[in-house]
Amino acid sequence: MENSEQQNTVPAPQFRPPGCGVLLLLIVVVLLTISYFKCEAPVKIENQEIVDVSPTVIKQLQIRKEWCFREIAMEETSEIKGITGSLLKRYYGVMRLGVKLDSINENYVQFYKNEQVLTIQLPKIEVLDDNFIDETKTETLVENAWTKFNNEELKRCFNQAKRKMIENNFTTKNIELAEDQGKTEIKRLVKSSGYSGKIEVEFIK
């Protein structure tokens, strides 16, 4: 009895404007229909990339007086931490050890001759140039997709690798090896120029 009363109280259906969902559905249907006839995807997203390289610009020409006795090809990993992850990169470079011939005024090579021995004094072994990394070979090993590193952080990672390369390779052993090669080379040069006596080579420490 109650049910029949309720049924009687249901209001008559009224016209309601279509909601957003229906409108969207209509738009999609229209797009699909047009694309069907045009035989292409209705919405296509493309990434248009351009890479441009500037012409070669020579900034400065400088005189160098460096005699390199040892080349050390290195690779080094460097890690920095971000807020949600870390960045691990591998760098490559060639460090050159030798003597800077203009380092001690103009008298970079000193000759002392006593009765028996010609003593040649050379400047100390140094890293000839602080710029030795080849960025075209750098690799990113680990990088968190959520963390992006700004220029300052990338510079920190790079400088950290460079510092480690110098610490690990500008060692007493490598300095001694460079000195040995330096001694051989300077003796060879002086002997080739006609000297046949005994030669001793020493490096300023």
Partner: protein, 189 residues
């Protein structure tokens, strides 16, 4: 959501990968570097995200980056190629025959202070990996004119002459009696 992402990324049980730090190959050389040029090179990359809706194009986000590089190129005399045969010693005169200078790139470094980035807020910023791959372009088209090569080689020869002459005069030779010639003479040519 942010909390979920950050906790997912910071897994305390995850072991970090250990890479060997000391990998180096040493080589005995004898190179007399006498001249250097610093070359500046820029790599520019722009990426536009375009939506194509039924033939019409809409730009929905762009990003671009300018990477400046400093490339060092040095000229040197390879003394490994110099032996006794290169020296002709006469009573009062010495003649040194040196090989022509050679050129090598000694470093390619990014000038981090002058990198320029422009990224739309809804685009992902440039990753380290993307910058690495762009660095490969730094050497593309690295060339200079004959005049510039000539200047570098000429400077290299003049300085090599000065350096060797200085060593020989310190050793006791009179400067007027020292003659240094190169295999291919850039100064005379």
């Amino acid at each position: 959501m942010i909390l979920l992402v950050t906790t997912r990324c910071q897994n305390p049980n995850k072991q970090s990968v250990q890479y060997s730090d000391i990998i180096a190959v040493t080589q005995r050389v004898s190179k007399l570097y006498t001249a250097e040029v610093i070359v500046s090179k820029e790599v520019f990359m722009s990426s536009e995200l375009v939506a194509k809706i039924i033939g019409n194009q809409y730009n929905i986000g762009e990003k671009s980056i300018l990477l400046p590089y400093k490339i060092k190129v040095k000229a040197y005399i390879d003394f490994n190629k110099v032996g006794k045969d290169n020296f002709q010693v006469y009573t009062n005169q010495i003649e040194v025959n040196l090989p022509s200078p050679e050129i090598e790139i000694t470093s390619i470094e990014l000038d981090f202070d002058n990198i320029k980035r422009n990224v739309s807020w809804y685009r992902k910023d440039f990753s380290s990996k993307e910058i690495d791959s762009l660095s490969k372009y730094a050497l593309k088209g690295l060339q200079w004119s004959d005049n510039e090569t000539f200047s570098l080689m000429q400077e290299a020869e003049i300085n090599a002459k000065r350096t060797i002459t200085k060593i020989l005069t310190d050793k006791g030779w009179n400067e007027d009696n020292i003659e240094i010639i190169f295999d291919k003479n850039y100064i005379l040519n």
